[in-house]
Assembly symmetry: C3
Homo-oligomer: 366 residues x 3
């Protein structure tokens, strides 16, 4: 069996993606490549509906009943408070109960059990596995592994290895939607593929070489080819050539810059990131002058009034705390959006998204 899974992992991405679906919709949510433009639009709309419905008690009661019979395993062997709490909050919003395994040392692995068997055990107890794992590809492998079991349950990727963090990319897109098209997110005609970000200029700033959020977001933005991306970083931490090639393939306009300040006044969104010095081999980041990529109240004075300042957090000094109260700061909202997005994903995975849409349309005006 393990070998069958190994074989599957050798297949081209498109064939593997197929194996992550059931009945024409996502079953496992594992790879950003799974997200069509239509899926992204739909899940953002769903997240926005969840957010609005949750705003009053009776709505939150409705949501909490949706998955009251479902139970989730949060298997987070890579430390993460933010994403973990976002998922547990999401579970609570849609009423799913959950359990967690966070420290592999307390698990049966000390008794010589393989991690594959641990996952097989979880699949007996729970209705979904939400997983964060340090090893690249392991979350996807788990999905294929569970496909082999008699009882198959969905697997949701909460971040795996250096590359994939698909729910983060979705919440970022959702935040851009809120910033750029507001209410239209919910009111758009079904299936209408109108570009929600026409000509919008987005700066990606910071450690672009090692930050996986910028990478995933760039991938997803290729579904919106009218955007323009400005990659601003110290040359040592420039965005990877693979991303740039992918953007060119999809005709997305971009620029690679080693400054931020001169383009800032022209931006519609800035996506700030911290320096990822935990990946440093010999403290090389400490030699880089990073301060010219900071956002300060002073710089904000020259920016557009509708600018969206984003940050996947945790932040260090990239955004001065005095910017926090500026209405253009969207990073706290972004945190919250992660929760709504993940609640929407859980609802989607358990086939209750139509019930949410019906509830919304029945109870809310556009």
């Amino acid at each position: 069996m393990a070998t069958r899974v190994e074989e599957i992992m050798q297949l081209p991405a498109r064939q593997r993606v197929e194996r992550l679906s059931r009945a024409g919709q996502l079953f496992h949510v594992v790879l950003a490549q799974q997200f069509s433009r239509n899926f992204i639009d739909d899940i953002c709309m769903l997240a926005e509906m969840v957010r609005r419905i949750a705003g009053v008690r009776i709505g939150s009661d409705f949501l909490r009943n949706l998955l009251a019979h479902r139970r989730a395993m949060l298997y987070f062997t890579q430390p993460s408070t933010r994403t973990f709490l976002s998922f547990t909050s999401a579970c609570q919003i849609v009423g799913a109960r959950y359990n967690e395994v966070r420290d592999p040392k307390t698990s049966s692995e000390v008794k010589g059990e393989s991690e594959e068997d641990a996952v097989r055990v979880f699949s007996q107890y729970f209705d979904v596995i939400i997983m964060r794992h340090p090893q690249e590809g392991f979350v996807e492998k788990t999905a294929h592994l569970i496909n082999e079991m008699e009882r198959t349950i969905p697997v949701i990727n909460g971040g795996s290895g250096k590359d994939q963090h698909p729910t983060q990319a979705l919440l970022d897109i959702y935040t851009l939607y809120q910033a750029f098209s507001g209410g239209a997110l919910v009111s758009r005609a079904a299936g209408a593929e109108i570009d929600p970000f026409p000509g919008k200029k987005i700066a990606m700033v910071g450690d672009l070489k090692r930050g996986r959020t910028v990478r995933s977001l760039s991938y997803l933005l290729c579904r919106y080819p009218q955007v323009q991306i400005f990659f601003c970083s110290p040359p040592e931490l420039a965005i990877g050539e693979d991303i740039l090639e992918y953007l060119r393939e999809h005709q997305v306009k971009y620029q690679v810059l080693s400054e931020l300040d001169h383009i800032l006044p022209d931006m519609d969104a800035v996506y700030m990131t911290r320096i990822q010095d935990e990946h440093d081999v010999a403290g090389e980041s400490s030699k880089i002058d990073y301060s010219r990529f900071y956002i300060t109240p002073d710089k904000l004075k020259r920016c557009k009034p509708a600018l969206a300042i984003m940050h996947p957090l945790p932040r260090r000094l990239e955004i001065h705390v005095e910017c926090d109260t500026d209405p253009r700061a969207k990073y706290w909202q972004q945190v919250q959006n992660g929760m709504w997005m993940r609640a929407a994903l859980l609802a989607y995975v358990f086939n209750t998204s139509q019930r949410i849409k019906d509830y919304y349309l029945e109870n809310y005006t556009y």
Copy 2:
């Protein structure tokens, strides 16, 4: 922003206390100074109602529905099993779901995030933050910090630094109420400020210098000036002069003693505490003969039949285990009272105390 909070922290207590309230009632529950006599009476009555309502299934269903739409963050960076479980149980009683962060090492702080930002993130996910923190003033600071956010949520102090543990003080007063005025707790006429402890003699025993529970309880007892307090400790561990001065200001009678036995037969309550030798610098506590401050079955023979023996726990040898079955032992009830008190506080903070009172008055006879 951080600097604004720093400025607030420099204000006199009275002005800071004001900033912890909204619409004439407590919003954040952070400092014992916030508790008026009327508030204490009221919250004790509410705790007692919660306790009685929870006693039957249908009542517990009512309570569990109260805050079913609320979610709490328990941010406990100082180890504490007892208080932690008391709060989680309280959440469960009023139906609130919760999440926890207990080990700062698993949190994003390893990625260089400030604790202030961690708190700001929590404020996006949750409806209340319950916090225990080793650093004096940090819980209060958090409350002011969250006041600056767009989304403000209440902060409840589960113990901070050496001085403040307001919910412990409330549960202690509540236990005294049960011991001294029983049913009157619930049946008293609204607003009737009758002293519930007239002339009661309360001994505070043990390490009075370093135990914060005795300090907070003494502060609160000044709202009941008819009590008499007897501080019994080895001279090295005597109660601080600041407390005595505060008692004098409020005309509360007290005595400072280095013995317990000769006053014991005359006491209505003894509040026992353990020696806090984790604060020892050079094992100085180990030289103190502490055994003359012990309660034993033998000593109890000479005590009043209605004596209330209290202890904030954990205990060591201060109270002999054979005393546990004596009906005068109230320390297990005290543990339970903590849970009822914290459930009452949660209900209060979310403005549902009136619903509890209505339910009680509708369903119970006095």
Copy 3:
């Protein structure tokens, strides 16, 4: 008080067992000796009903309401992911909320509290204590300790010391029931003591000396004297003489063998276990050739088509992963059965088993 409990622990098992019951039924679930044949039959039937009822949403809603007003403490000071998750899942199935203490270091023990006092505190907060403990007899001692309290609550043994793991034995019997008598589990006439395993041949394989699951299961199988047991292990790891004596007393046929292969084709069930080398003093297990006790796809070809392959997990190499997809592999079902069995036990302990039976009989045909 502690001394009274010590005295009780010196009593013969039969008298201690009596003290674990109330009103003619189990109150604490601590020792395998408490389980009569009738109790085992009944609890297996209940587990099967729970499993079937939970299969549809409306049924799971019914179950989740059963103990919605109960709260459990999971006190697991011995590491265990599998059993822990099984119990938390069981709690969630019957709607009980729970709290956990897993790391004694975070508990108040650092402040010098005795473990007995910790348990007394839990008994104030919760309605049941589920406990796993490294020290033999401690779970039972806890039950007697709580019997002395004013508020007594049931204690459930989740594994204590080397010997007792009663819920594992129950789930193993339940799995045998499913394998051998299928639907009869639920449809049997009340009180009809028909042997469900007549003449069935069960091989116990592996480290029989140190594995407590085989020991407990052997004890319980004495309630079914028609079975035949084959103990297959390296001579160094043979089953204890005490177990054999117990089987002889109960007229259960058995054989002690140092091979597996020649009897395998004749078996109705094989209960595989891993080598327990964490108990090794000097790596002695590493010298044993264990591979002749492995199950492989090849060996399975010669086995009965209705063979039940069981394993308490975690497994190492005893069962080749390619066997996992063989329909005779029951070890994943066994994992799941643990959850149903523990849910049934919780329902039983809180006197709601009749409600489950009524619901089943009302809604399901036999």
